[in-house]
Amino acid sequence: MAMAFDATSEASDEALLARYAAGDPVAARALVARLTPRVFAVARRMLGSEAEAEEVSQDALVRLWRIAPDWRAGEAQVSTWLYRVTVNLCTDRLRRRRDMPLDPEADYADDAPPVEQRLQDADRAAALERALASLPERQRQVVVLRHLEGLSNPEIAEILGLTVEAVESLTARGKRGLKAQLAAQRTELGYGDD
């Protein structure tokens, strides 16, 4: 999401959070504009549901607002903390889902019209989203954070409480799973029929 340039564009998340805690409404607006799309994108990709992604995003952000006055500068990055909270909230939701009957027409399927109706890149993005939904939870988290959010392996390790080696292993297994899922659609996705 593009954000209009203003005096807060260059400020760090931490600096803005300190200003938020001091009651600065400009900082509040800047943080919402900056963090909400990030949190929402991660939640949406992990949960595959627009409505659940909104609930998780709201929950994660409220936790940040509440902790803002007590935030200890220099101890953790705001984004790392927020990703961790978001991933944990998504994990809770996914675990609750396991106790419920599976819905074959889940939200992610509803949002993905037939491949032939979409442009090629959009088809690929939608196919990837469906394939992601089929991955085991941990693999999906790592692949989303690494390849879609662009975080480094050490950052992901810190967020998920894993070693860097475990992150690398999960990423490799996740990518193998995605390739297996997507291989069946190679022709439809414009890779040729071979």
Binding site: A22, V32, S57, Q58, A122, L128, L148, A183, D194
Partner: protein, 118 residues
Amino acid sequence: MTDMDDAELDRHFAAARARPPEPDAAFMARAMAEARAHQPPAVAARPPLPSGRGAAVLAWLAGVAMPGGLIAATLVGVLIGVSSGDLVSDQAAVLMETDLGMELVYRFPAIGGFFEEI
């Protein structure tokens, strides 16, 4: 069926990165309202300080006269408290030789006379 290679998978990642799921305007508005609802109130700004001669007088009163007065009152209280003892003169002499005693006499010359009397 041919396996998918890394380059092809990367094209999927690139396509997905180019189309991140975005929150709609209504949700952004709710998120903003929630942020403001939880935000602590702004810290009240101090009233502006006077400038010119008024400021100089206030600075003198705050920085010089008030602490000096407090020090003098404290010191006089201590001296009165110990004045019934036999060592008053010695203590007064010791006090006069300290930085505090000299500062006190400098700011309040009358106290110097008090020290000399005891």
